[in-house]
């Protein structure tokens, strides 16, 4: 019951979703349509579970008087403000609502800026870490330099051969290398899916019984 039933459910639903592509009978398609809805619902509930976990983590930080507990209050302030604006405001999804403004003027700038920090670190890494120590590394750097020049307007200005070489790199060596990786990863993905369905891979069940 504790381990066998979930494994059996995993197998049954896995086999059904895998073979329904090849059974165009209307009853199978009807059930598939409903099952997709079930999977979406489970994902939605799983997400909400994540929010509960976030609250738990920061609640424990506050309760245990962790050194940086003040920031947990910031998390709660952000979380409950959004929940409040979303649930209490009658028209929260209307453009220009406080809920939307919080998203556009708090979440968007912080998230976008956090990712833009990477521009500085990639520049620093280019200076400190990218060394042409071996033939392979040299090839990588030459390809990178050509692509970097060929994909900006200044590359066209320097020589029309640079964008031409960039296109060649992208559509010949890059294409075939990525295709090889894609095939390998694709086979790996299928093997993993089969292992999950057959109960060989059980990490999703957790450690205890």
């Amino acid at each position: 019951m504790r381990r066998q039933l979930p494994l059996a459910l995993c197998f049954i639903f896995g086999v059904f979703t895998a073979i329904q592509y090849y059974v165009p009978h209307f009853r199978v398609q009807w059930f598939q349509e409903r099952l997709l809805q079930w999977l979406m619902t489970l994902l939605a509930f799983a997400f909400l579970l994540g929010t509960v976990s976030l609250i738990k983590v920061h609640y424990h930080k506050l309760r245990d008087r962790a050194p940086d507990r003040g920031f947990s209050l910031v998390v709660f302030a952000g979380l409950f403000t959004m929940i409040g604006l979303g649930f209490i405001h009658p028209d929260h999804h209307a453009p220009g609502s406080p809920f939307n403004q919080m998203f556009l003027n708090v979440q968007v700038p912080i998230e976008a800026t956090m990712f833009s920090l990477l521009a500085f670190y990639v520049a620093s890494a280019a200076f400190r870490a990218f060394r042409a120590r071996t033939l392979e590394a040299t090839l990588l750097l030459i390809a990178a330099a050509i692509v970097m020049l060929g994909r900006v307007p200044i590359g066209d200005l320097i020589s029309p051969k640079i964008p031409e070489a960039t296109r060649w790199i992208l559509e010949v060596p890059n294409l075939t290398a990525k295709r090889g990786v894609m095939i390998g990863v694709g086979l790996g993905m299928m093997a993993t899916a089969l292992k999950i369905m057959l109960g060989i891979e059980r990490a999703w069940m957790g450690g205890s019984d």
Binding site: P6, C10, I12, F13, G14, I19, Y21, Y22, Q37, W38, L39, T41, L42, A44, F47, L49, T51, V52, F71, V75, G78, M82, F87, F99, L104, N105, V106, Q107, P109, I110, E111, T113, M114, S116, A119, F120, V122, E136, L139, L140, A143, A144, I146, R151, W168, L170, P173, T176, R179, G180, V181, I183, G184, G186, M189, M190, T192, M197, W204, M205
Partner: protein, 279 residues
């Protein structure tokens, strides 16, 4: 005025995040924690009103599915209730004694998604890619002929130089001889380029497609770990590494481009914000 005020909030938060470039500090930590809370709250509201309400609570409690009335205890009603109940079972993980019940919906979820992927992934990533990779080696137009021939000419030049200068150690103590050998290798490379151009120009062989096929075989061989990479397999794997490195180089170039684009977006925002004070 409201626009300026809201933009100012965004700009201040942007600067808080950029302050991390100098060193880690409380302003950055504040923005970091704020975005965790705000985004979790935002997602929660979106999940609730976009999915849970129209697909679960509306049909179950108000008997309304997409604007149409449904019957209490009817098939549609059960089809909304059942996944909702299964979803609630996920929350048993917070009660250690019955946490194992949470594995039932998880089993359906994990198995269902695993099965869904098998056929489309096989089609998209394996079958269609192998089909597209099996290109004719002659008799088709080659838009990249010149670039491919230049590349192969360069390979010949590097190979001859390596063979004579490094392997055979010719002209080891004479700079003039070294220059002569490099010039000779350049001549051979150029000759190779001319010969290959003549071949591909005559339609005898499509060298770009040959490169695509050899590159694919090489890359696949490199990731084939069931046999030792020696002999032909070793050569193919080596060719695979070369293709992979050029591919990774292209990815690196694009990664730089991507990161810089994000920075440009934020700098553009800050410049527009400053401009608001003068307009």
């Amino acid at each position: 005025m409201t626009t300026l005020l809201l933009a100012t909030v965004g700009a201040i938060l942007t600067l808080c995040v950029y302050s991390f470039l100098y060193k880690d500090n409380p302003f950055y930590k504040f923005a970091e924690h704020l975005v965790v809370g705000v985004s979790a709250g935002y997602y929660l509201v979106i999940y609730t009103f976009n999915f849970i309400v129209p697909n679960v609570t509306d049909p179950v409690f108000t008997l309304n599915l997409g604007g149409e009335a449904i019957r209490l205890g009817g098939l549609d009603w059960w089809m909304a209730l059942a996944p909702g109940l299964l979803g609630l079972l996920l929350y048993t993980r917070f009660f250690p004694k019955i946490a194992w019940i949470g594995r039932w919906p998880l089993g359906i979820y994990v198995g269902g998604y695993a099965g869904l992927g098998i056929s489309p992934v096989m089609q998209a990533r394996v079958i269609n890619q192998l089909r597209a990779g099996a290109t004719p080696l002659a008799g088709t137009p080659d838009p990249f002929a010149n670039m491919t021939n230049v590349c192969l000419g360069l390979v010949i030049f590097i190979a001859v130089t390596y063979l004579l200068l490094v392997k055979r150690q010719l002209g080891a103590r004479n700079t003039g001889a070294k220059v002569g050998i490099v010039a000779l290798a350049a001549l051979v490379g150029y000759g190779g380029y001319v010969a290959l151009s003549a071949l591909s120009g005559a339609g005898v062989v499509n060298l770009t497609n040959v490169m695509l096929v050899v590159g694919l075989l090489g890359t696949l061989t490199y990731f084939f770990f069931s046999m030792r990479h020696t002999g032909v397999l070793g050569v193919l794997a080596r060719i695979g590494i070369v293709f992979l490195m050029v591919g990774f180089g292209a990815s690196f170039g694009y990664t730089v481009m991507s990161r810089i684009s994000l920075l440009i977006g934020r700098v553009g925002f800050l410049i527009d914000w400053v401009g608001m004070f003068f307009s």
